[in-house]
Amino acid sequence: MTWLALGGLAVLAVLPAVLGPYALSVFINILFYAYLGQAWNIVGGYAGQLSVGHAAFVGIGGYTAAVLAAETGLTPWVGMLAGGALAAVLGGVIGYLGFRFGLRGFYFVLLTVAFAEVCRIVASNWERVGGAVGLYITFTGDPRQMQFQDDRAWYYIALALTALATAIVWGMERRRFGIYLTAIREDETACEALGVPTFRHKLGAMVLSSFLTGLAGTFYAYRYSSLQPGAVFGIPLSVEIVIRPIVGGAGTLLGPIVGSFILTPLAELSRAWFGQGGWHGAHLIVYGVLLVAVVLFLPQGAVPVLGRLVRRAAP
C-alpha cells in the first residue's frame, strides 16, 4: 500500500513533463480540489461532523494573505500561514460553539453555513477589504509574490499541499486521534461512556481542518487573481469542497483524491464537449445525473468499491 502511494506520487511528480498547458491547468484544479477535500475529510469524513461552510476558511485565508500583501508588502508565502492561522481560529470558534452546545447533524450543518454567510456579508460590506467588488491581485510573474511565469510551479504547490494533507491524514489514521475521531463518528454516546474526550477531539479535528483549508485560500487568491465575497465565501464553493470526498469516499484516505480525479475531469470534458456545440448547460445536467447516480449506487463512495475490486482481483 505504501509502495502504491509512493508510486502514485512519483507518477504525479513527473507528470508535468508530458502534460500540455491545458491538461496541466486541469490537473492543478484536480489537485487543488483534492487538497480541499482532504482538509474537509478530517472533520467531515473521519469525525463525521458535516461542515457545509468550509468556504469560510478559504475566504479568510485568501483575504488575510491578500490584505497583508497589499498593506504591508508581506509575501503571500508567509501570509498563507497567517491566513491558515486565522482560519484555524475561526474553525475553533465554530467548533467550540457547535460541540460545546452539542449541535449534531443538521444543526451543525446550519451553524457552519451560517458562519460562512456571515463572513460573506461582512466581507461584502467592509470597504477596507474591497467590499462586494473584492480584491484583485496584480499579475507580476514574481515568485516572491506567488506569481509564476511557468504554470508548473502551481502544479507542484498543489501537489505538495495534497501530499501534505494526505500524509497528515495517513498519520492521523494510525494514531489515537484518528481512531477516536472514527469512533466518535460511529457512536458518539458510546465513546463518551467509554471516557473518550469527544469535545477535545472534535475541536482538534475542526481546527486542523480549517487551518489546512485556510492555506488553500491563498492559493486560490493568487492563482485566480481575485477574491470576491460571493465566490470565496459562497455556498457553491462549500459544496464543491464537500462533494469530492463524498463521491470518492468520505472518511477514507484516498477518497477526496479519487473523487477529485473523477469529478474535475468529468466537469471539464463535458463542458468542453457540449459547450462547443452550443448546448449551453448540458454539462451541468450530465454532472448532476452522475452525482445522483453515485449517491444512489455508491453511497459509500468510490474508494470502498475500488478496494473490494482490487482485493477480489488479487486475493
Partner: protein, 421 residues
C-alpha cells in the same frame, strides 16, 4: 422476398447513426485561420447575458468572414474557440488555458470581473493579447498597467473597450448636471439607493466619488439607502426614503429589486421630480417593462447603449432579433459585437499574428465603426481603457427605452420633471 429488419439490426443501425451524427467531422483544413478564444458565462447564474455576448461576437465574426476575412493576413478567416466560465474565476483561467492550447492567438471576454481577472494572468503569462469586451471593475486593466510601469511586466497585453466603474460614475454625474440644467431645476435632495452587491457597490462607489470630485450645483443627501440582493421586501427602505424627503431618487438596481422598488415608491406616493438611475439593469429591459408597466414610464437611467442613429446598428439589431428569436440587441451583445470588429480592425493594421505587433496595433487604435454609443473614436489610454466608452441616458417613454441624452444622440426629447399623476 422481403427484407426483414430485425430488432437487433435496427438497434445497431440506430446506435451507429447516433455515433456518426454525434461526433462532428474534423473540420476541413482551411488555408489559414486566425483563432480567437471567446469566453463568456454561457451557463450558470449569468447565462442570459453571457449568451447574448457570445452571439454578438459570433455575428461580428460571421460578418467579417463573409466580407473576405482579414485582408492583411491573406484573407484569413476568424475562427472562434468558444469557452464557458459559469461565472467561476477558476474556470476563467482554465478556459483561457484551454483555448490558448488549441491555438487561440487572442482572447475576448468575459463579462464578470472575477473570471476576467483570472484570464488576465493567462494573457500576461502566455503573451496573448486580450480584449475585454465587458467587465467594469477598474483594477482589471489598472493593475496590469501598474505592473508594467513598475517594471514587473514588460508589456501590457490587456485592453478594455467598456466603461469602468469610475467612468460610469463620472458620466452619470455629468448627465445628472446637464439634465437638471436643461430642465431648469437644481435639486438639493437627491437620494442614492443601491443594491448592495458587487455591481451595486461598484456603481455607487464610482458615483459618489465622481460627485465629490465634481461638486455639482445639485446636492446628494448624506443618507444613502441600500439593501441586500435579492431583497424580499423594500417597504422599509422606501419608508426611510420617504422620510428623507428627496426630490430626485437615484436608484441602482438589479431586475429583482427594481420589481419591488418601483411599485413601492408609487404605493407610498413619493412626490419626486423624477427617478434617475446612475446606471443599472432592471430599469429598461423588455421583460421589466412588461412587468412594471407604468411604474417605469419616465424613468431615466444611464447605461451603455447601442447607437440606433447608425443605420448599421439598426441592421445588425434586426439580424440579431432574427437570429435569437426576438431578443433585443443591447449592451451585452453590442459591446461583444464591437469587440470582435475591433479585433478585425487591429489585425488589419498589425498585418501580422505576432503578439507584440498586435499589441502595438491595439495601442494605435482609432476605430470609428462601433455600433455602441461612444463619445469619440475607440482609443486606448495609458491604462488600456477606452475613455470614449461611455453610457447614454435613456428614458422609458411610451413603454419603450429611448436615448435622450447627450443631446446629439437623443432620439426623443427627454421628459423631466415627470408629469404629475
Amino acid at each position: 422476398m422481403t427484407t426483414r429488419v430485425s430488432r437487433r439490426t435496427l438497434l445497431r443501425a440506430t446506435v451507429a447513426t447516433a455515433a456518426v451524427a454525434g461526433f462532428p467531422l474534423p473540420l476541413r483544413a482551411q488555408a489559414e485561420t486566425f483563432k480567437i478564444g471567446v469566453i463568456h458565462p454561457v451557463s450558470g447564474p449569468l447565462a442570459e447575458p453571457g449568451q447574448a455576448c457570445r452571439i454578438g461576437a459570433q455575428m461580428a465574426a460571421d460578418a467579417i468572414n463573409e466580407a473576405g476575412g482579414i485582408k492583411a493576413l491573406g484573407g484569413a478567416k476568424l475562427e472562434l474557440l468558444l469557452g464557458d466560465t459559469q461565472t467561476k474565476p477558476e474556470l476563467g483561467r482554465t478556459e483561457a488555458e484551454r483555448v490558448v492550447s488549441l491555438g487561440a492567438r487572442m482572447l475576448l471576454g468575459s463579462f464578470d470581473s472575477g473570471s476576467t481577472a483570472a484570464m488576465v494572468s493567462v494573457a500576461q503569462q502566455k503573451r496573448v493579447p486580450f480584449l475585454v469586451d465587458i467587465a467594469a471593475a477598474d483594477p482589471i486593466t489598472a493593475n496590469v498597467a501598474r505592473s508594467v510601469k513598475e517594471g514587473q511586466q514588460k508589456l501590457q497585453y490587456v485592453y478594455r473597450n467598456f466603461p469602468t466603474g469610475s467612468s460610469f460614475g463620472r458620466k452619470a454625474v455629468q448627465y445628472f448636471t446637464e439634465i437638471f440644467q436643461e430642465a431648469g431645476v437644481t435639486p438639493k435632495r437627491v437620494l442614492l439607493m443601491y443594491t448592495n452587491d458587487l455591481f451595486g457597490q461598484n456603481q455607487s462607489r464610482g458615483f459618489l466619488a465622481a460627485y465629490k470630485a465634481a461638486s455639482p450645483p445639485w446636492q446628494l443627501l448624506d443618507e444613502v439607502i441600500s439593501w441586500p440582493e435579492p431583497p424580499s421586501d423594500l417597504s422599509t427602505e422606501v419608508s426611510r426614503a420617504r422620510a428623507a424627503r428627496p426630490d430626485v431618487i437615484a436608484p441602482i438596481t438589479r431586475p429583482a429589486s427594481a420589481q419591488l422598488l418601483l411599485p413601492e415608491i408609487a404605493r407610498q406616493r413619493l412626490d419626486v421630480l423624477g427617478i434617475v438611475g446612475p446606471g443599472s439593469p432592471g430599469l429598461y429591459e423588455a421583460g421589466q417593462i412588461a412587468t412594471l408597466k407604468e411604474h417605469l414610464e419616465y424613468v431615466l437611467t444611464s447605461v451603455p447603449w447601442p447607437n440606433f442613429q447608425n443605420p448599421r446598428t439598426r441592421q445588425v439589431a434586426a439580424e440579431y432579433i432574427e437570429r435569437t428569436g426576438g431578443k433585443t440587441f443591447d449592451t451585452n451583445s453590442g459591446y461583444s459585437y464591437d469587440a470582435m470588429m475591433l479585433v478585425a480592425d487591429v489585425l488589419e493594421r498589425a498585418k501580422s499574428t505576432d503578439p507584440e505587433a498586435i499589441v502595438e496595433a491595439m495601442r494605435a487604435t482609432r476605430y470609428t465603426g462601433g455600433l455602441m454609443q461612444y463619445a469619440g473614436p475607440v482609443v486606448f489610454n495609458e491604462i488600456g481603457d477606452n475613455p470614449n466608452a461611455v453610457p447614454t441616458m435613456i428614458q422609458i417613454l411610451n413603454q419603450r427605452p429611448v436615448a435622450v441624452w447627450p443631446k446629439d444622440v437623443a432620439r426623443r426629447k427627454l421628459v423631466f420633471p415627470r408629469p404629475k399623476a
